[in-house]
Symmetry: D3
Subunit: 136 residues, 6 copies
Amino acid sequence: MYSVTVRGHMMIAHSLRGEVFGPAQQLHGATYVVDVEFRRADLDADGIVVDIGRAAESVNAVLGALSYRNLDDESAFVGRNTTTEFLARVVFDRVVAAIGNGALGDGGGAIESIKVTLHESHIAAAAYEGRVHGAI
Amino acid sequence: MYSVTVRGHMMIAHSLRGEVFGPAQQLHGATYVVDVEFRRADLDADGIVVDIGRAAESVNAVLGALSYRNLDDESAFVGRNTTTEFLARVVFDRVVAAIGNGALGDGGGAIESIKVTLHESHIAAAAYEGRVHGAI
Amino acid sequence: MYSVTVRGHMMIAHSLRGEVFGPAQQLHGATYVVDVEFRRADLDADGIVVDIGRAAESVNAVLGALSYRNLDDESAFVGRNTTTEFLARVVFDRVVAAIGNGALGDGGGAIESIKVTLHESHIAAAAYEGRVHGAI
Amino acid sequence: MYSVTVRGHMMIAHSLRGEVFGPAQQLHGATYVVDVEFRRADLDADGIVVDIGRAAESVNAVLGALSYRNLDDESAFVGRNTTTEFLARVVFDRVVAAIGNGALGDGGGAIESIKVTLHESHIAAAAYEGRVHGAI
Amino acid sequence: MYSVTVRGHMMIAHSLRGEVFGPAQQLHGATYVVDVEFRRADLDADGIVVDIGRAAESVNAVLGALSYRNLDDESAFVGRNTTTEFLARVVFDRVVAAIGNGALGDGGGAIESIKVTLHESHIAAAAYEGRVHGAI
Amino acid sequence: MYSVTVRGHMMIAHSLRGEVFGPAQQLHGATYVVDVEFRRADLDADGIVVDIGRAAESVNAVLGALSYRNLDDESAFVGRNTTTEFLARVVFDRVVAAIGNGALGDGGGAIESIKVTLHESHIAAAAYEGRVHGAI
């Protein structure tokens, strides 16, 4: 199995509902340093997993649409806790959707699975990984 | 698959028996920067893999019980080489036992697998990963 | 010159006023991974720059008083832009004040200068460094 | 599953053919920081996955044979794009061949799978992982 | 003293002349992960050292003009060894020139000194630091 | 000012005497990831601060003479606490002595100052920096 990973980041505000979150129930924020790993069994004719330039653009577009926002005000997340693991899934779903819309070109169809990791500090991270086809 | 990873560390002395270890047969020591990754298929009602505060406490309790010690003197390790890979398994087993004892609350039962990685320097690491149920 | 550096972090929400900030004028947030470096010319009788345990406690107390908050609502920062460089100075001032209050014990008086670095992502950081005596 | 990972690096020049590579079609270069992860189900009698000294030597020998070269001039790569993912496979194949030649001793035969990751910058990496037996 | 640091990277090919360079006399290449630190004594009215967006753009423009090239063919470097330390100075000089040309706006004039660090691998780096005024 | 930094590591056992050290009074150990930064005002005729190959060899020789040992048994350290900051000075002194003995060649004489940083974990480090001439 081959993979290519690109890194970006987003900076958001949010609050979390539920006693389990302790002080994180208050409005606060986070920088998420985000790694998106694209996987497929074989390389294409150019010898690549994916056009890394387009992959980076797609990831940055997904992160840009979330960054510099208060996620508590986003209609897409009403009634949901925007935990790190939940956001890993959001990024996964949106990258998969971008692939479906051709953002990675024809080669995007060969991507089998994706892992999205959000590093929220030097001591904590969360991730979601899944298959691309039938993922949403 | 979702995951949450927490990082801690321990500082220990030990020696290793066997020609393969070369100078590491002498009493020396190591800092292990330890990543413990908790995995499960779905998020709970709060939108999390695990209460990250309790997870960090559990990991730090396991590491604290090993840290600032000469592992050559620990009765638990008599006759064993406390290699990095062996210690990764020790941490895994003890975190799994803590889950069994309710350290992560009810949600701990949903953890399917755990990966424990010990970074011993900037150029070497070892890991153990396994399923939680039936692990010990 | 000797130094000891301890690392902690804080997670905050805020917004910044001024066209120069572009989308960061919106309410958003950040994780700051914070390095505090304590410097002095000579070691004490124990062979240390500072009791690293007390230093870490002091730094974490300073960071804890800022973390999990919306800095736009903090009375201490009314009328100020809580930029990364401004917050580096805030942490510096508060650590210096803690030293003045004896948080590092008698040895704290020997600390000559401090550098506080806030890493806001994998591609950006800000810092403030200054002398301890007469600093505030 | 246990694993041991060793890190090395290589510094190479190359160019890539195909419009997808944009400016990387020009002769340029890269430092690849390389992680090689060796995996097996059980530890040997010494409590290890592999003799980490021999593993590091083998990895460094493989990287040394590629480093400080213009890969466009290497007969082994005629007609191939030496992309990061392609080179991850090259390193994998050569480490597997070294194991076959006894570079890791008898214990090398117990290695089940290997993952080779090449970090080409702070924001991009590629990897190849596969089973050792029947790999080439 | 305050500072802001931005990170970028460049990927180049080159060779070095002189026995001291051993195998690096052959055409090879490197990824340089580059940190540029801007320093000044006081913050401006917005509470910043520099407009970090413009600073990042300026740094990336300087790095972009060097990246994806064979430095042996660059007329600017004829007769010079493009060592890591030499390139740190080149980046410093070009960032200083950009400031002189107004790339950082009026605030650029307040930058007192700059440090440029080039990380060429996980085990080696070089840097140049100097004052901005009268630097070239 | 130019600088070149090389990284190595050492793994040692030791104990520390004094209540301030808490559990670190027990025999334990550490991995120190060590950065040695060599500084000088100008580059030599080859365009370098120092022959990085010889610099790395010298640093590794110094670290090798400390590694895989119980520092409590070293005659050089009788009656001393081998704290991280103390060991940073030991490495500094030994690198300076190696320069005096010609380990870096003629160019070593041009090194003005050196900074030695020992990272003992992901959250703590200590350093010593000083001028080379008249340092011991």
